[in-house]
């Protein structure tokens, strides 16, 4: 069973690496949106570092939303999803493999780019480890919950805006706990509460989301 799971991940990673240019897109989007804030709000150091935890996380939410939109699109159109449903293996597991692959492609690069974001937004170095941990715990939740929305809108034309309406309200707890953990660590306060909540959210999403995603895909296939 683990074998099948790994095969799905390997297949999705392979497809992604065949189009290497697109791999950088979420990261580039992330950097570009971040540069908009100093331009639009204020480049002042104190002001920016005060806003920074929220800015980083709002940008993460938007990047996750945009990248998750296409998670099933191609497979849905060329019929690969239907093949997965026809296989004798539990569909939730296969779909979970696809989400994991998606997170490896979009979430993990964010871990790499986050120090640069911290530099641009004047987040002090002491807060960097916590920022990292929030990204590590938070982005899988975003991928899992976002995939539910993506599965529901997979068959629709122009589902992007709709996906935002469905998914962004569900992202709010992640935004609250993650950005508050980062700002607490900037002030030298304890962050274990926020991180524990993020961890609990991740566990809940890991348990429930695969079933919701596969049920949604089944409905979208009609």
């Amino acid at each position: 069973m683990l074998n099948v799971f790994l095969t799905v991940i390997r297949r999705d990673l392979l497809v992604a690496f065949r189009r290497r240019a697109e791999l950088m897109n979420p990261v580039l989007f992330y950097v570009i949106v971040t540069t908009l804030f100093p331009l639009g709000v204020s480049p002042d150091v104190h002001f920016l570092s005060q806003l920074a935890p929220g800015l980083v996380w709002v940008t993460t939410l938007l990047a996750a939303l945009i990248s998750v939109e296409s998670i099933f699109r191609q497979d849905f159109e060329d019929g690969s999803i239907e093949q997965l449903f026809l296989s004798p293996h539990p569909i939730s597991l296969l779909i979970f493999g696809k989400v994991v692959a998606h997170w490896l492609i979009t979430g993990v690069p964010m871990l790499g780019i986050v120090p640069l974001m911290a530099l641009l937004l004047h987040i002090p170095g002491q807060a960097l480890p916590v920022l990292w941990v929030t990204i590590l715990l938070g982005t899988p939740i975003l991928s899992l919950v976002g995939a539910i929305g993506a599965a529901l809108t997979a068959g629709l034309r122009g589902g992007g805006m709709l996906l935002g309406m469905l998914v962004l309200p569900l992202y709010i707890p992640v935004l609250i706990f993650a950005s508050s953990a980062v700002s607490a660590s900037m002030d030298g306060l304890a962050v274990s509460g926020q991180l524990a909540m993020l961890g609990a959210g991740l566990i809940l999403a890991l348990i429930l989301a695969p079933f919701a995603i596969s049920a949604s895909l089944r409905i979208s296939m009609g």
Binding site: L152, L156, M165, L170, I172, L204, L208, A212, A215, I219
Partner: protein, 245 residues
């Protein structure tokens, strides 16, 4: 019991069954609304701090209660629709989304009108206002995706999944927002031995809450009956029904 429920899941039987209820529900709504409004607006004393402006709670609080109650009804109906695929519960989901959004908007608007004289501002980013606003977004999302899908049965099942996902998330969203900030006064203790609301204000409030509850079911039944007639417009029983009238 199961037989009865199975019968009720047929659109034709449900149409006849709900037809008997609608006049009663309408009548009770009118009576309770008149009693509640008169009691709340004229008989109940003015608040010693807020004066007359507090009277908006006789609409605001029941609307806020209903905004959450309707979501639960919608999620339960959504679960039934996903498991047993009954058409009646599918219609409950889509109609509840509209009615629930309406109650939520009403609670928000009355809350803002009350906030201006009391807090001195229409909007405060406090926990309950914010989670009520997010609840409105959840309702609007369900309405949006329901109207985006043409096949009404697929649309209903998609909306059901969202409703069930949302009902798991609502407590999480609510507690995260509460934790994030709180300015709003704590929940009213209505059923404890020493209620925090004086009986002269509490009783009209409870009457209004009952009125809103009955109003919801009346409205739900009427809206569902319209939807059933529309969906079944090509069947013989609807044609006969229309020919008779």
């Amino acid at each position: 019991m199961w037989n009865y429920l199975r019968k009720l899941s047929s659109l034709k039987y449900y149409y006849e069954w709900s037809g008997k209820w609608v006049p009663w529900l309408t009548g009770f709504t009118v009576v309770l609304m008149i009693v509640g409004f008169y009691w709340g607006l004229f008989v109940a004393p003015a608040d010693y701090q807020q004066g007359e402006s507090y009277r908006i709670i006789f609409v605001h609080v029941p609307a806020a209660w209903m905004s959450m109650f309707v979501y639960v009804v919608m999620a339960v109906a959504g679960f039934i629709a996903l498991v047993w695929r009954t058409k009646v519960s599918e219609i409950v989901v889509s109609e509840c989304a509209v009615i629930g959004a309406m109650f939520t908007a009403l609670a928000l608007i009355t809350g803002m009108l009350w906030g201006k004289p009391t807090w001195g501002t229409y909007w405060q980013w406090d926990a309950r206002l914010t989670s009520e606003l997010i609840l409105l977004f959840l309702y609007l999302g369900i309405i949006a995706i329901h109207s985006a899908i043409e096949d009404s049965r697929v649309a209903a099942r998609v909306a059901s999944i969202l409703a069930v996902t949302g009902v798991i998330n609502i407590p999480i969203i609510h507690y995260s927002v509460t934790w994030w900030s709180s300015l709003h006064q704590p929940n009213m203790q209505l059923l404890s031995k020493s209620p925090s609301v004086h009986p002269s204000m509490l009783y009209p409030l409870l009457v209004m809450a009952a009125a809103f509850q009955v109003y919801f079911f009346g409205l739900l039944f009427i809206r569902m009956r319209n939807e059933i007639l529309y969906r079944e417009r090509l069947t013989n029983w609807v044609k006969k029904l229309l020919a008779r009238n």
